[in-house]
């Protein structure tokens, strides 16, 4: 029973106060630029987040079976799993084209690589890893769709053009982050 409550706490923390995108900023850039309409983003989010879930599990398994002395190889493992994730998403027809002269997958690397680093930092056991990973993915997905909704509202609003920019979107995310801290306090 005690274990369950610890896992529940880990789940809630990973979902809210330690949300991978709000508290650790992973994938925020990717969410800002990739979010489209809510419907598009909801579908896109499923593809991205399921990929992140799988590569997180893969990265965790690989770095767990690696002997302790080979820890410096962890970034190489996470890089390989990241490339695998990008390849899968490209196969699904995502991350194609360019973004300011860089391939479209470059802004997504922070999300793929960073979440694996976060998992490693947590030194989780298997149940903890699955719990945290599920919460990260769920939190990330909700935030992705929420950002798309805010972006859509900003675009159709009557505000001056200067406010129809990433600054308003970032300010809205700041308010969401404040709300999350508020929930944590409660």
């Amino acid at each position: 029973m005690r274990k369950l409550s610890e896992l529940s706490r880990l789940f809630l923390n990973s979902l809210l106060s330690e949300n991978m995108s709000l508290a650790f900023f992973l994938g925020i850039l990717f969410m800002l630029i990739e979010s489209g309409t809510i419907k598009q983003t909801a579908i896109k989010g499923l593809k991205y987040m399921s990929t992140v879930f799988v590569i997180n599990v893969l990265g965790w398994f690989l770095h767990t079976i690696l002997p302790g002395g080979l820890d410096p190889l962890n970034p190489a493992i996470f890089f390989l799993t990241t490339v695998t994730g990008v390849t899968v998403l490209k196969y699904w027809g995502e991350l194609k084209g360019e973004w300011f002269g860089l391939p479209r997958f470059v802004p997504a690397l922070g999300l793929f690589f960073g979440t694996q680093l976060l998992m490693q930092k947590g030194s989780y056991t298997y149940p903890e890893m699955m719990t945290a990973n599920t919460a990260y993915i769920l939190g990330g997905y909700l935030l992705f769709v929420l950002i798309a909704a805010i972006k859509e509202e900003i675009i159709v609003s009557d505000a001056a053009p200067v406010f129809k920019s990433y600054s308003t979107l970032l300010a809205a995310i700041a308010m969401l982050a404040l709300g999350v801290i508020g929930i944590q306090i409660i």
Binding site: F24, F25, I28, F100, L102, G110, F113, L117, A171, A174
Partner: protein, 188 residues
Amino acid sequence: MDKNLTILEKVMLMGLLPLLGATNNLKQALITAVSAVLIALLIKFFARFISEREDYHWYLLIGVGITLSYIFYIAIIDLFPNLEVFINNYLLLLGVTPLIYIGASRSENKFFSYQKDFFILMIFVGALREILGKGTIFSIQLTAAGYPPLGFVKDFPGAFLIVSIIYLLVELLRKDKASLQEGSEKIV
């Protein structure tokens, strides 16, 4: 939203991860900014040997970028152990920050402008967050101890808020200039 962005706006987007995560205090921002500029220079150097820009060439460059950021992370801790408290995972994550690959881009050729703007922004955001969030600068107490002007700025919502305000200021300044130029054209 991605159309007609200035270099400074692109820098804020491309370097968003270190700009939000590695600006808790000025020292941390300074270390991360210097490392990012040096890694970007090395990536630009390596990119000269890669003529094609297929996906696997980019993977190679990203592999180099991640390795370099890891080397910097280890080297700084080894060479300057007293700086360890100012180093966090965002130094490691420089390897996956789009801004450091700008030197390898075919269409963006103002590499040094990007790096200069990023460096200034990091210092500015780091200083602002430390002053407002902790009431210190370079760990020197400026306000009454325990009474920072805006305590929440040192936490993650503050990072978003400060960056959004700076982005808005950049936008406003740019619009002013554009409208001035438009006005002068009309007068002519």
